[in-house]
Subunit: 204 residues, 2 copies
Amino acid sequence: MENLSSKQSQVLRFLMDFNADYGFPPTIRELCDHFGFKSLNTAHFHLRSLEKKGYIQIHPGKGRGITLPEARRLPERKIPVVGRIAAGLPILALENIEDFLGIDKGFFCTEKSFAVQVKGDSMVDAHIQDGDYVIIKIQDQAQNGDIVAALIDDEVTLKYFYRRKRQIRLESANPKYPPLIFKKEEARSFRILGIMAGLVRKRQ
Amino acid sequence: MENLSSKQSQVLRFLMDFNADYGFPPTIRELCDHFGFKSLNTAHFHLRSLEKKGYIQIHPGKGRGITLPEARRLPERKIPVVGRIAAGLPILALENIEDFLGIDKGFFCTEKSFAVQVKGDSMVDAHIQDGDYVIIKIQDQAQNGDIVAALIDDEVTLKYFYRRKRQIRLESANPKYPPLIFKKEEARSFRILGIMAGLVRKRQ
DNA sequence: CAAAATATAGAACGTATGTTCTACTTACAG
DNA sequence: CTGTAAGTAGAACATACGTTCTATATTTTG
């Protein structure tokens, strides 16, 4: 999915929120009012951009004729699946979201959360398999022994977290993979996105 | 909630379907077209009736200004958690249901399904931990190697399923536990409830 | 640097859409 | 039988709403 400018993101977010609140999309004039646009064409322009990039569908001539893809209709309660994290963007930026899990956020008692799909066997000893979705509660702190989602080179990785004096150790739950060790001074080369709050496996 | 006449039911159903398809409600004229009404007032009248009975909310003056209650936007169907199965009762009898998981049944592609909470470590080698919820697709057949939920002495148990000639073997995924072997003539002492369709772990 | 994408403003136009009024039919309960 | 609710029809009206054209400024990109 093509990248969105920050204004386009804001407009899409507003469409989703408005839809969730009222059950129907806003008119172009309501869009203008909300953002303070003084011209109808400004709002109309953003809608056309969003449609060109495939985020919405416009039904010409129909009042409030904006269709959001089903995944984005009531997303506020569903858990977003985050794929690659584009540099600089916040975790939950729309561009990072691949899909939504049909699970209410409240189920895992974590309003601020997302999911990542596990690739590979680096966490099998924690009983986390290839293909599992791990639900991550967003926070930048972690305790020793927590399973954390860390961002290393735009890539989301799951590891056990251990801090000792001047260094942080990120360990796999599989002896095949060596631990990653970060000294305090190079702590900026990775970032903790959150800690594991649950797991979902879709498998026969 | 007050009862609906059959026409009113049909109109409400149409509102829900239209909403699900397009992401916005129909106009009064679209309602007329669908039902073959020749007067706008007919459709308008039904909408007013539905609002008076509390099924929808009308926003006067707004195009497509119909709000369905959130519950009716996307029907929610949660997965029941089954505990002990009382003798003689069907699996999904209300008496057997301990709780519901806030997960839509469709998520695991199994309309007929339930969940059991795992107790113990008999399936750890299949990466199923103590406390995990395993989603079971209801069916009475199983293939060799499937993980099945079986009813043994009113107790729901998870096992690997193997059939060989005149006997059925139910194996744990943990060498600590010996396999259960049933000869064909004693096959009535257990019952297959269904096969594993997914897993949910709620854990920090 | 030039071209393209992004962002915004203002105005004019036509039609899509909700509202309301009158009127008629059928079924049903008091 | 008479009143009330459900269901339908037709028409007139006001306005909510999308569309399109012209212009301008800023930022990004090749």
